[in-house]
Symmetry: C4
Subunit: 264 residues, 4 copies
């Protein structure tokens, strides 16, 4: 019985497992849409009670599902502390928290991240393979990206301070260093909101250098990632999830889990 439940909830290889995952996908998207619409004043005035009822219905459903997941998995603690275990919990907590802190149920939209799991349903293996490929490429360039981020953060801190020193007294925007650093981040990432802008010739000159630097800097992570990605072999994995340690990405022919050795 417990094994059967496990197969339906955690796997997507059986018809029942697929149906469960599709229903879950629809429930997640519907509940997030309800949460978003509820925040719109006009819609809330007309359909507020209905939307709140929908929200509570889905929250109770997701809570039940979370309890069932804990009940049918071999190592509940391991699941509870895994990425998806935490997301599953965070998906229901804000609605209960809204009983104490009004308005906090808006944060329940975090349940959208649960959608990532249901990739397993739609041409599963390939999608999981793709996300594994993305993950491996990101992990391979982790060190380079850390070095890169430290350089970028140093750059925005120094440029922000410099702009605060130059523009500060006369310009309403650059009120303190944290605000100036925020402006430098907005500029170097080429977002450019325009709520804070340099006015003095010197400030504009430094801003120009920062923008051209940002233009060049954008090339660095792209180049790193493209090179790393080009080295990856084509992925080929199954959609099996280990019932004991929840590891994914097993070889299609695998009989035992590569991580803990238990039978799949």
């Amino acid at each position: 019985m417990r094994k059967r439940l496990y197969e339906v909830i955690f796997e997507a290889d059986t018809p029942a497992g697929k149906a469960f995952d599709v229903a879950l996908l629809i429930a997640i998207v519907t509940s997030v849409l309800a949460l978003m619409l509820e925040s719109v004043a006009e819609i809330n005035a007309h359909y507020g009670p209905t939307l709140r009822a929908i929200e509570w219905a889905f929250t109770v459903l997701f809570t039940l599902e979370y309890v069932l997941r804990l009940a049918c998995v071999q190592r509940p603690a391991r699941y509870a502390l895994s990425f998806f275990g935490i997301i599953d919990l965070l998906a229901v907590l804000p609605t209960y928290a809204s009983l104490l802190v009004p308005g906090s149920h808006a944060l329940a939209t975090v349940r959208i991240f649960r959608v990532v799991r249901v990739f397993r349903v739609l041409k599963l293996a390939r999608f999981i393979g793709e996300s594994h490929a993305l993950m491996r490429a990101l992990r391979a360039s982790f060190h380079k990206i850390t070095v890169f981020l430290v350089v970028v953060i140093s750059l925005v801190v120094v440029t922000g301070s410099l702009m605060y020193y130059i523009e500060g007294p006369d310009n309403r925007g650059f009120t303190d260093i944290p605000t100036s650093v925020y402006w430098a981040i907005v500029t170097v990432t080429t977002v450019g909101f325009g709520d804070i802008t340099p006015q003095s010739p010197l400030g504009r000159g430094i801003a120009s250098l920062l923008m051209i630097a940002g233009y060049g800097i954008i090339a660095v992570p792209t180049g790193i990632f493209a090179a790393e990605f080009a080295r990856l072999p084509a992925p080929s994995v199954s959609t099996q999830v280990c019932p004991s340690c929840l590891a994914e990405g097993h070889d299609p022919q695998a009989v035992f889990c590569y991580a803990c050795g238990s039978k799949l």
Copy 2:
């Protein structure tokens, strides 16, 4: 007679076919320019009737062409439901619709997409080859891009909700979750309109993280596409269109359609 018409309208290998396609290209661009100019108040005040006459003339012409295309192709239903068949229909509908819904003829600019077809005229094979190469590279990375899009959409929904929760009460911009999600999209894509901006220190901190994430995220589709594109062999196709199934991209030496086997 019908076969001759087909060669003139659908193909660009004969002098008549080329001339037809060049004339069509000019007609499309002229009619789109007329539509754009008509919407400008000053120009409309002076040349309104002329521009409306031009628009109707081209619409009647394009309607006639659409009927001829239906008449001379072997399988009219197949053409009518193909990408170009739908565009050809949408290119004339808005002008007729403007008799019922005033102003809707502005949407007739969709006929600009018909220009894509007339690539066949200008050094045809190479252009078609290029667009096939682009298409194949996009299709090859379709799964990776879907995974990527789901992650980005989840990210903007959660960040938007968080910003609504943090900035909401005091900031005129973040009025509801859909608006906040719109802001998150504007920010993560580095567009940065600046009509909605965070004001609180915490909101600015989260915005900074989102911008730096967006900076890194922009590297992912570029890296995917560059890697996929580098793997493509040089394309080599003819401009022949199958008269029976409308398939394009035939080998220059091909005598029969690769899709349905009928004679080219």
Copy 3:
């Protein structure tokens, strides 16, 4: 005598040729800076006559140089119609034109493009090699970029018309289709000025799709260029310019011009 002049003005292999090119580089940058400063009201009030004198001095100098170039090159017509010949002429015309049309001397900053030529001086061969490599990579991806541009232009025309139809009546920004197309270009290129922004939920939804599309579209030219560039062999050329046809990019061992066969 004429050959000696040619070597000084057109080549950078002799000490005199190098000195001439360095002096020219300094003159160009100085004259452009003078033009820029002259336009600033405060600086013009104090140093206007001096700056105008500098401008006229450089213009007379550049005119003299242009005449000498025409005099010493073997085929003056060919030089006059080459890219650099036209730039050299445009570099002096606006100052003379300002006698008839006041203010037009601002356009004399076009002479900054002359700087590109003096790359020949600074570690010449390598720089020319690099710019040739860039040019070849751009030319190789010309067809792909044309297809790409036509798709982008079609996209902004259709999106602009759609936004004009949706936002038009209520929003001061989307006054006519050309303005809406301008907004679509500002958005799809992720520039995002924010002077025109959608206000209706539907308009914001379409803008979001356009921004995410723009995000993905930016990957296409980068991927094309990166792939094309990776295929290029390391360049190795000399700084010789053919005295007869002005062709550049000769092999270091070349004795005859690859384009016209005359002796180098």
Copy 4:
């Protein structure tokens, strides 16, 4: 004694050296945070004296460290003129300068760049290897990037002048050529603050061309860097710093410095 001090301060191979570098990392980040918070008016009103005390404590500490570094290195002049020697000096100067020029201590945030050095502590070799790889890729594409920058600068100068000529008289934003060039940089880098925007149809047309050009231009440095980076072999270096010439990036098996031949 001096050699022992050198190992603690300059190296990170011994436990004492690691502990010193970790302490330094914490001190740098703390002092920069104190400087940033001090600039916020509200926080300064409450904790101003405390933050100023922290700042002076760290400045005295860093000064002491700078003197010790000078004392224990074999060639003090070489260290003082190296990149990190200059940063170490600039890290303390602004606080002392603030005694003469009030407010200049904001510039002491430049000490954040010292963080780059302490990469040596955290899984050292790999991080140094990564930054060396980044540096080599940047150096390899230096010539191409210079050519690219000259073209971009020429483009913004000419476009800025053109916009000043077209928009100048009627538009408050384009007051002089330097401001217009600043606008062109903001536009071509896709930052798009929106504080200065074209209003005339012709100005918007030119801005559109500039934006589409910027869109394509962004592909150039990315393509260069990606291609250059893909050619790099995997780096493998130690964290040893030569005590005599301060060169980094030695082979793990190296016994003598590759740059000056002295014993490591």
